[in-house]
Symmetry: C2
Subunit: 211 residues, 2 copies
Amino acid sequence: MGRPRTPLLDRARITTTALELVDEQGEFSVPQIARRLGTQTGSVYHHVDGRDGIVELMRERICEAIDSRTLDLEPWDAALAAWARSYRAAFAAHPRVIPLLTTSPVRAPKVLEQYERAVGLLLGAGFAVADVMPVLTGLENLVLGSALDLAAPETMWELPEDSPTPQLARALTAVGAGRADAAFDVALEGLIGHARTLLGTPAPDDRDHAP
Amino acid sequence: MGRPRTPLLDRARITTTALELVDEQGEFSVPQIARRLGTQTGSVYHHVDGRDGIVELMRERICEAIDSRTLDLEPWDAALAAWARSYRAAFAAHPRVIPLLTTSPVRAPKVLEQYERAVGLLLGAGFAVADVMPVLTGLENLVLGSALDLAAPETMWELPEDSPTPQLARALTAVGAGRADAAFDVALEGLIGHARTLLGTPAPDDRDHAP
DNA sequence: ACCTGAACACCGTTCAAGT
DNA sequence: ACCTGAACACCGTTCAAGT
């Protein structure tokens, strides 16, 4: 007992284990993490700021996969679109984590930094300060919603066998992963079109919208 | 002890109490409900299908405030916009409940019924089957995201005092409730514009519902 | 049918005690 | 500094026992 020569736990391994648990079960608990890592529950608290801290670590880990260089692209709408795509891909890798991220506030410096740069991008493009967060929040909603939909479309709807909702059933079975991609693309273009409206600059017809 | 002359509990009172708790705390538990209603925890289970059942009851209660007659309006895009507005208003009344609704699947018949009618509206307008759910899901994301943002904008962001993210801080303080309304309106118009695009150029391989 | 009271397995969090 | 082991207050759920 007592302190081991080499630490049994560290933040990285706690994060990885939590992510594994959520990927498998859609949930995690501190005792479960401790069990998988062969330690006592209390030990985890020496490395991490409680359960909420673990959630924040997962957010950080997932957001590391976002390519922030996309924010350097020009013009601003190409940068925003590329950022959104990378953002979505990162979350689509761990869709079951998303519900955990809507409750707790964003604290991770690396994540805040990305948003800081995104804000700078929009301000630099000439957006009014008050318009920036609505656009970015809309983008975030779109990204998270579509990532959730991409990998877990069936979990959101539970239809009875003798369906009194035949049209809904038809519509649900008609959607696939490829369709979700297409829907994301067009919805993203819609949002950016909305942003152009706010900016007051109409979209040129000859602009290339392809990724 | 034993069975009382008149029941101490019923589904409506359980739902109301759960809603009160979530409005106050952002959370609820079965023992808390029982305590407020002056009964034992176990008694609640005689009226309700577990904790998840209570969540579903809250969803149902909230969705009762949605005006489904909006779906009878013409043309289809006016109906969809009015439905979205009513939908958002209903959720904005209990924003802290929203995170609870993203995990569990939709089972409530009355809610399914509304979606059934919305599907019918879009199919009747000539949408391809595969396009219907992306549009409705996008609408749902927009509604829930904006309702959440409307009444709890500060909870999603926790900036340190000595902010290394000055632009983000500026952008956040510049947003208000009125702005959120405006953002919703334009984003909604953007989504419906996207939907019009889908209607005008349906994918040839999967359109079984030509006008 | 509906409520009690107790039980069970599980949480999140803290903390003295050890090395 | 880091882990153990035990403690605390709290969950969700079940169930015999009572009326």
